[in-house]
């Protein structure tokens, strides 16, 4: 999950705005996507992520600002002249053509001989694991196979950027997880910049080198998955990515490097300033805590961390994990924590008195 920042820039957004009539779809998007990066645009539906992707492909014009691909302004360049190719949400496999004709479609204007093109098609099919499928009718393929054909068809042109618009959303869960891993491998193998649009935060975390989280036409945070997960810069981002407990708190004092807060149920905590993203001033302050940073202490276990007493209110069994909802510190504040189920560790009952261990470094302050 590491990504070197010294690579060259492949895509650059400069204050991109897009209006549909009165509707402000993109509200000043700026940022860079590096060459060879697996980049995700993540957000709820209607946040503008697909619109942004389509401005790169050239299917959407922009109202102001600029989109640069490999240093060149794309203004006025139609989709068929851009060094990008797209995998569509519906895959857009041409139903009247064979698999090989679909994959080779983009080579129609290629000056190479028919034999060379046919070899290129075979190679592309082999790359996506569809060797020998060339003669089949595109209509006869399963969802996963259509997806692979769409990938091969886009990659055969060796684009500088591959755009993927919710490519896995039509697949079932098992197939989706399989394709996630295959896409990562494929991206490493070809080294092309991949830009993925998804509303599935898990998918974005699994696959991406970096993620731009978008809300309402703006990038809320652009960071690598670990930073996004551990240090979300707003409560909204924290809420969108994974699960987070939000505990009301009071800010007692603000020092140069530290902030002192009193969190309901947890007590006084000293945080470092990098645990507190810039305040937005709109909401009452809370500290955020991920479920897996809380640990249930079983009898006889001890810890270096701070502890808090609690009462189990709800038990949610997931097979490999159990989630507990626990009231802490004798208050009405309820937190969710996750425990891995290991042999010899009993599942607790509702109403059990428990002790939780937690570490102040896992907290994030939103105010």
């Amino acid at each position: 999950m590491t990504f070197s920042a010294d690579r060259s820039t492949m895509i650059e957004f400069r204050d991109v705005h897009k209006y549909y009539g009165d509707y402000h779809a993109l509200r000043g998007i700026s940022g860079e996507i590096k060459s060879g990066e697996f980049f995700s645009l993540l957000g709820p539906s209607g946040c503008g992520k697909t619109t942004l992707l389509r401005t790169i492909a050239g299917f959407e014009g922009i109202s102001s600002g600029a989109v640069l691909i490999d240093g060149k302004d794309t203004a006025g360049i139609p989709p068929n002249k851009r060094p990008t190719n797209m995998v569509f949400q519906s895959y857009a496999i041409f139903p009247h053509l064979t698999v090989a004709e679909n994959v080779g479609f983009g080579l129609r204007r290629d000056p190479r001989s028919a034999a060379e093109k046919s070899r290129a098609v075979d190679e592309a099919l082999e790359m996506v694991g569809l060797k020998g499928y060339g003669g089949r009718a595109a209509n006869a393929l399963s969802g996963g196979q259509r997806q692979r054909v769409a990938l091969a068809r886009a990659l055969i042109l060796k684009p500088k950027v591959l755009l993927l618009d919710e490519p896995l959303s039509a697949l079932d869960k098992k197939m989706r997880e399989l394709m996630q891993v295959e896409l990562i491998k494929l991206q490493r193998q070809v080294g092309i910049t991949f830009i993925l649009v998804t509303h599935d935060q898990e998918e974005a975390l699994v696959m991406s080198d970096r993620i731009a989280v978008m809300f309402e036409g703006e990038i809320a945070q652009l960071a690598d998955p670990e930073t996004l997960y551990r240090r979300p810069n707003s409560r909204k981002v924290a809420d969108f990515i994974g699960t987070m407990n939000f505990i009301p708190c009071e800010v007692l004092s603000q020092g140069m490097d530290t902030i002192e807060v009193d969190a309901k149920g947890l007590g006084r905590v000293t945080l470092s300033t990098d645990q507190a993203p810039p305040p937005n001033g709109k909401e009452s302050p809370v500290v955020g805590l991920r479920p897996e940073t809380l640990t249930l202490l079983y009898p006889g276990q001890s810890t270096q961390d701070r502890t808090v007493d609690g009462v189990v209110d709800e038990v949610i069994y997931f097979g490999d994990m159990t989630y507990y909802d626990v009231y802490i510190g004798g208050t009405d504040v309820e937190v969710r924590l996750s425990m891995r189920n290991v042999p010899g560790r009993p599942i607790l009952d509702v109403g059990t008195q428990v002790q939780l261990a937690w570490n102040p470094s896992a907290l994030v302050l939103f105010r």
Partner: protein, 268 residues
């Protein structure tokens, strides 16, 4: 029996609708110049007699020329309108499409009389061309209705994919859109051909001295001795119409299945 009354009603309805047409072949093969029961015997002489009617041959030639021209023109217009209405947003789209589709329900005789007045007023001689113009007016809404279904079931990202893969909008139309809507085009050609072939009012008002098959049939009813020949001719026309419409429906369904759309019902 559950729903017995409705079943009975449906059967009576279908009888009233189709039983008279069934009389056509019966009398076409009846060996008597008088159209009445009891039947006299089997003959094919009414069919062979058609070969000796030069006015019938003229009418047939006229009708075929008109029907083919009408099918081609109204289908071409239908392609343009269907494409525009399914892919683009433009001001007053609903009103424009509504007005284009209006001839479907407009009393045809009103349209025919109005056209006659206009043609005479601006001095266009009545003939095959004026009948074709009238028929295009009648047939284009059918063509649009059929073709809109074809264009509608076409996934927009198919066009975008072709564009994205290096094709121009024009070559995308040839390579992707046209092949996928071709069943709809064939269906439209056959149905508009059939409608034009059977159409009477426009042909009667706008034809001048030119006679089409329906007008010929109408004029021949004045002569009792030619009624059996008309029965034979009618039998052939019914067979031709049913065949063409069946083929058209086959292509319409195949087209919708091909583009992965849902069958929302057609004219058949």
């Amino acid at each position: 029996m559950k729903g017995g009354w409705f079943r009975g009603y449906a059967i009576v309805y279908l009888l009233v609708l189709y039983a008279p047409i069934m009389l056509l072949p019966i009398f076409a093969f009846n060996d008597s110049a008088i159209v009445s029961f009891p039947l006299a015997g089997f003959t094919t002489k009414w069919f062979t007699q058609m070969a000796d009617e030069p006015t019938l041959h003229d009418a047939l030639r006229n009708s075929l020329f008109i029907a083919v021209s009408t099918a081609v023109i109204s289908t071409l217009l239908g392609i343009l309108a269907a494409r525009a209405s399914t892919r683009f947003v433009f001001p007053a789209k609903g009103a424009i499409m509504g007005l284009i589709m209006l001839p479907l329900v407009l009393p045809e005789i009103i349209a025919a009389v109005s056209l006659l007045v206009v043609f005479l007023g601006i001095g266009i001689p009545l003939g095959l061309i004026t009948i074709i113009l009238g028929h295009v007016l009648v047939c284009t809404p059918f063509a649009i209705a059929i073709l809109s279904a074809s264009f509608q079931s076409l996934d927009k990202s198919l066009e975008e994919a072709a564009y994205d893969l290096g094709e121009t909008p024009l070559s995308t139309f040839w390579l992707i859109i046209l092949p996928l809507v071709m069943p709809g085009i064939i269906s439209s050609l056959l149905i508009t051909f059939t409608i034009s072939l059977d159409e009477f009012i426009m042909a009667f008002f706008l034809g001048g001295t030119n006679v089409t098959l329906p007008v010929y049939i109408f004029s021949q009813f004045r002569f009792p001795q030619s009624v059996p020949v008309i029965m034979a001719l009618g039998t052939l026309l019914v067979l031709l119409s049913i065949t063409l419409l069946a083929i058209a429906e086959y292509f319409r369904r195949r087209g919708i299945a091909k583009t992965g759309g849902k069958n929302t019902g057609g004219f058949l």
